[in-house]
């Protein structure tokens, strides 16, 4: 087939498309993914019993704020990486800010604590379940984010996969925070970030084989 014939073929018939495909796909993905994670959290774990009392504490909001800020950076990053030729701009810096902030708070808390208390501040009493459940809750979000990207056109596949994983992990951590009783910065800085890191690495690994087009 000659190139001119291919052009005629492509241009024949209805060629119109919806123009907001990226926004629409990510709205559905995030909606369904978050719903899945909330559902899993509710049936497997339940919201923390002292939820309303906890909302009066600043640490509760920091605990939502860190994954919330990561998600707020990961979503536009994933959307831009889904479109050919879009740049990330300042998004990597935006993503570094919440990480640096919680690490700063953690160092401060550890410095103030007596040497014997430090281990308890880092490990809390639920570190294994934090890690396991953030990773588990990220699965529906991860699948939804990859579905969104698969229908678009990512060209930098490692980064695109990683952004999908980061989005999934940070929203999952946000959902898990509604259950989690831990309230110390060193715990958050370690296990929340590790829990978010796992799907991010998984995304970077499966991005290239999965997202090709």
């Amino acid at each position: 087939m000659k190139t001119d014939d291919l052009i005629s073929l492509l241009a024949a018939g209805p060629v119109a498309v919806e123009t907001d495909a990226v926004t629409r796909r990510y709205s559905s993905a995030l909606g369904w993914g978050a719903l899945g994670a909330l559902f899993l959290m509710t049936i497997l774990l339940g919201v923390r019993p002292d939820f309303w009392a906890a909302t009066a504490l600043p640490m509760f909001w920091i605990k939502l704020g860190v994954p919330g800020a990561l998600a707020a950076g990961a979503l536009p990053a994933a959307m831009r990486l889904s479109t050919p030729g879009r740049r990330l701009g300042r998004l990597p810096v935006m993503l570094a800010v919440p990480v640096a902030a919680i690490w700063g708070l953690a160092v401060l808390a550890l410095a103030r604590a007596a040497p014997g208390e430090r281990e308890a501040l880092v490990f809390g009493s639920t570190w294994e379940s934090c890690l396991a459940y953030v990773a588990l809750l990220s699965l529906p979000l991860f699948a939804a984010a990859l579905w969104a990207m698969k229908g678009l056109a990512p060209t930098r596949l490692v980064l695109a996969g990683a952004a999908s994983g980061l989005l999934a992990g940070s929203v999952a951590a946000l959902v898990y925070a509604l259950h989690c009783p831990e309230m110390d910065a060193p715990f958050l800085a370690t296990w929340y970030l590790l829990g978010i890191f796992l799907p991010t690495v998984a995304g970077a690994l499966i991005g290239p084989p999965l997202l090709r087009w």
Partner: protein
């Protein structure tokens, strides 16, 4: 912003809104720029140029829903052409040779619409043959609507498919075509 960017963007946006004539003119002009761009970068594989022009045009068509009007068209097209070029070289040469030869920078981007080349060589791969291998539910809608020029409604009547199935068949068929190219270089 150069004038080719403005003119091509205008044609594409009209095409995305449903104007097939403008869309065809967009693809024609784009093919000359893609040919110049790829010929320069595939100096050692001249026989692959026209195949890659066609593959890139198909990719632009299949991914046209990802173009947003607020984005420079040059950057969007460049990223697609570059992606398909890297994909081809990866299939040809394996990973090692790649990074050394294709370490492109952003400075290359504005160049894409500067040069054009209307001198099409013959493609080695015949897309018509690949189209013939598609399953019927994709092949028939493409043949009736895209090659014979029937409307969706006429094609639906002719094939006994629903109009929605005809549209889905065209869409999936062209995606499947791109998939066949990717698997069999």
């Amino acid at each position: 912003m150069n004038s080719a960017e403005a003119r091509l963007r205008e044609l594409l946006l009209r095409g995305l809104a449903g104007d097939g004539t403008s869309y065809g003119r967009f693809l024609e002009a784009l093919s000359t720029h893609l040919r110049a761009y790829l010929r320069k970068r595939l100096a050692r594989l001249p026989d692959d140029v026209e195949d890659l022009v066609q593959e890139s045009l198909l990719a632009v068509h299949n991914q046209r829903h990802t173009y947003a009007a607020d984005q420079p068209l040059t950057a969007w097209v460049h990223a697609i052409a570059h992606y398909k070029l890297v994909d081809l070289l990866r299939r040809r040469a394996g990973r090692e040779a790649l990074h050394a030869t294709l370490d492109e920078t952003a400075e290359d981007e504005p160049g894409l619409f500067v040069a054009s080349d209307a001198d099409a060589a013959d493609a080695r791969r015949d897309l018509a043959v690949l189209l013939g291998r598609l399953p019927e539910r994709m092949r028939l809608p493409i043949e009736h609507v895209k090659i014979e020029g029937l409307s969706i409604a006429e094609a639906a009547r002719r094939t006994g498919m629903s109009e929605a199935a005809v549209k889905v068949g065209i869409h999936r068929g062209l995606k499947a075509l791109a998939g066949m190219i990717r698997k069999k270089p």
